[in-house]
Amino acid sequence: MTDIPSDTRTAAPSTGEEGAAPRARAGAPLADPAAERRRARRSRRYRWDMKWSPYALIAPFFLFFIAFGLFPLLYTGWASLHRVELGTPTDMEWVGLRNFSRLLEDEFFWNALRNTFTIGLISTVPQLLMALGLAHLLHYRLRGSMFFRVAILTPYATSVAAATLVFVLMFSRTDHGMINWALGLVGVDAVDWQNGDWTAQIAVSSIVIWRWTGYNALIYLAAMQAIPNDLYESAALDGASRWQQFRHVTIPSLRPTILFTCVVSTIGATQLFGEPLLFSQGASPTGGSDHQFQTLGLYLYEQGWFNQHLGRSSAIAWTMFLILVLIGLLNWAISRWIRRSA
C-alpha cells in the first residue's frame, strides 16, 4: 500500500476539510500558491501516514512484547549459566554448564520429570477421550443443548486455586471426606489420597480433568460441526451404523483438531504448578512429604524461591523448554506418519 501512484495520492484527499467536493478543480487549473502549499503539505502528511502508521500500530505491542516477553525469554538462558541468589539477583557469577550438570545428578529432578510425565499422561488421555465422547453427544439434536454446553464449560471459569482447595477437602484422607465416603458406600476402604504415591497423582490429575474436559469437548464439537453432512449421508446409505460413522467419518475428520488438543494439553501438563502446590499440606513446594507429586514447575519454584537458586531455576526452565521442543518434533513426526499411512 505504500506505493500508490502519485496522482491518486494527491487527488483524493487534497481539497475540502472532509474530503468534500474538489474546490480547486472548479477554479483555475493553477491554484494560488497558498492552496498549492497546503495541498503539498497534506499530501506529504498522507504519505508519511501511509509509510509509518503500520509501525505505530504494532509498536505498543512490540514494546511490551520485547521488554516483558522476548528479553526475559533469552535472558533465562544467560541466567542459567550463572550462579544467582534470590536475595541478590544482580550479583551473577559465571559457572558455565554447572547448573545443568548438577540438575542431571539430582534425583529430585528425575523424580519431578517422571511425575510430570505420569500426571500428564493420566490427566490428558482420559480427559481427551471423555471430551471426544461428550462432543459426539452434544452434536446430536438435543433439547437444552446450550445449557449442557455452558454447564460442562463452567469448571473452566474456576481458578486452579479455588478448584484445588475444594478437591483437597473432597479428597480428605479419613472416611469423612466426600470421596472416601462415597467409596465406602460401595465397600472400598478409605484411601490416603495425599500421602499415597499413585493416589496423590490420580487426585491431582482429577483436578486437571475436571477443569479442562468441557473446554476440549467444545473444541471438538466446533470441529465436528464443520464436517460436511453428506459424508454422513453417504455413510448411512452404505449401511454404516452410528458407531461406524463415528469411527470412520468423525474421527478421521477430526484428526488435525485431535492433534492440536494433544499438543495444547501436553504443553499444559508440562507446566502443571498450582494443582500440586496447593494439593500438598500447607501448600509446600515439595509436592507431598515424599515429593510424590512434585512436578517440574513446582521443582523450579522450590529451587528458585525456597532454596534461593535462581540460576538453577533458570536451568530447569530451559530443560522444560527443550523437552517441549522434543515433544513438538515427535508430534510433528507422528502426524506426518499418520498422514502418510492414511
Partner: protein, 283 residues
C-alpha cells in the same frame, strides 16, 4: 439464532435417552464441586469432619464469608484482581486489535518476519521467563505492587494472531481502500472502520483474556511474594497455607474468588461458548 443454523449444518439425528443420561451425569459432575463449595462454606469445621458429609446448606454462610472477607483479605484481593484483570483485558484487546489489523491488512517491511516471531513465541511456557521477570521486578522496586503483575501480561501474542485471523476475512480490503480514497487518515480509518468491524472478535478476546487474567496463578504468586497486595488467587493460596485453619472459611474464600466469574458465566455463557468454538475453528 446462530445455534439453530449450526445445528442445521450438522447431522439431524436426535439424541436418545442414553445421550441425555450421560450428559446429565457430566453436568452434575461439572457443577457438583462448585455447589459443594457453597455448601461447605455454609457449614462449620465440626460438621465438615462428620460422616456423611453435608449435602445441604447450613446457616453459617454469611459468618464465614465475613471472616474470609476481613481476615483473609478477600475484599482487597477482589478489588486488586478486578483492577489487574480489567487493565490486562483493555490493554490486550486494544493492542491486539491495532497490531492484528496491521498484520492483516497493511504492508510494511519485515511484516512476515515479525509475525513469525509473534506466532513462534506463542507456545513458549511462562516458566521460561519467570526468573528474569522476577529480577526486573526486584530491580525496579515493584515487588508486591500490582504493576508487576499487569505489565508483563498486558499484551498477548495469541491476541494479535487471533485478531489478525479474524480481520483478514471480516474486513474487506476494498472498504479500507474506499476510506483511503475518501482521504481518511489512519487514525480515522481505525476508529470508523477497523474497530466496528473487529467488535465481535474484540468481545470474544476480551472475555477469554478476562477469565485468564482473573485465574492467573503462577506469576502473581511469585511477583506478589509478601502478600501485601494479593490478587484473589494469591489470597486463596494463603488460605491453603493454613493462615485460616477453618475449612468452611477456606471454602467461603474459594466461593468469593469464583463467584464473579460464575455470575459472568450465567450472564454470558452462550457468548463464551460461542467464542471458544469460534476460536477453535479459526485457531
Amino acid at each position: 439464532m446462530a445455534s439453530l443454523k449450526k445445528r442445521g449444518a450438522g447431522r439431524q439425528l436426535h439424541g436418545g435417552k442414553l445421550a441425555y443420561a450421560v450428559l446429565i451425569l457430566f453436568t452434575i459432575g461439572s457443577l457438583f464441586p462448585l455447589v459443594w463449595t457453597a455448601i461447605a462454606a455454609s457449614r462449620n469445621n465440626t460438621r465438615l469432619a462428620e460422616t456423611p458429609p453435608p449435602f445441604w446448606f447450613g446457616g453459617n454462610l454469611f459468618k464465614n464469608l465475613e471472616i474470609a472477607w476481613t481476615d483473609a483479605n478477600m475484599g482487597t484481593a477482589l478489588l486488586n484482581t478486578l483492577v489487574v484483570a480489567g487493565t490486562i483485558t483493555v490493554g490486550t484487546v486494544l493492542f491486539s486489535t491495532l497490531a492484528g489489523f496491521a498484520f492483516a491488512k497493511l504492508r510494511f517491511r519485515f511484516r512476515g518476519l515479525l509475525l513469525l516471531l509473534v506466532v513462534g513465541t506463542m507456545m513458549v511456557p511462562p516458566q521460561l521467563s519467570v526468573v528474569p521477570l522476577f529480577m526486573m521486578v526486584a530491580e525496579f522496586g515493584w515487588t508486591d505492587q500490582l504493576q508487576s503483575v499487569i505489565l508483563p501480561t498486558l499484551v498477548s501474542a495469541f491476541g494479535v494472531f487471533f485478531m489478525r485471523q479474524y480481520l483478514i476475512e471480516a474486513l474487506p480490503t476494498e472498504v479500507i481502500e474506499a476510506a483511503r480514497v475518501d482521504g481518511a487518515s489512519s487514525l480515522r480509518l481505525i476508529w470508523h472502520v477497523v474497530f466496528p468491524a473487529a467488535r465481535p472478535a474484540m468481545a470474544v478476546l476480551g472475555m477469554l483474556t478476562f477469565v485468564m487474567a482473573w485465574n492467573d496463578f503462577f506469576w502473581p504468586i511469585i511477583a506478589l511474594t509478601q502478600g501485601g497486595e494479593p490478587t484473589v488467587q494469591v489470597a486463596l493460596a494463603g488460605l491453603g497455607r493454613g493462615q485460616i485453619p477453618d475449612q468452611s472459611v477456606i471454602m467461603a474464600g474459594a466461593l468469593l474468588g469464583t463467584l464473579p466469574l460464575l455470575i459472568a458465566f450465567v450472564l454470558f455463557g452462550k457468548q463464551i461458548v460461542g467464542g471458544i468454538m469460534q476460536g477453535a475453528v479459526k485457531g
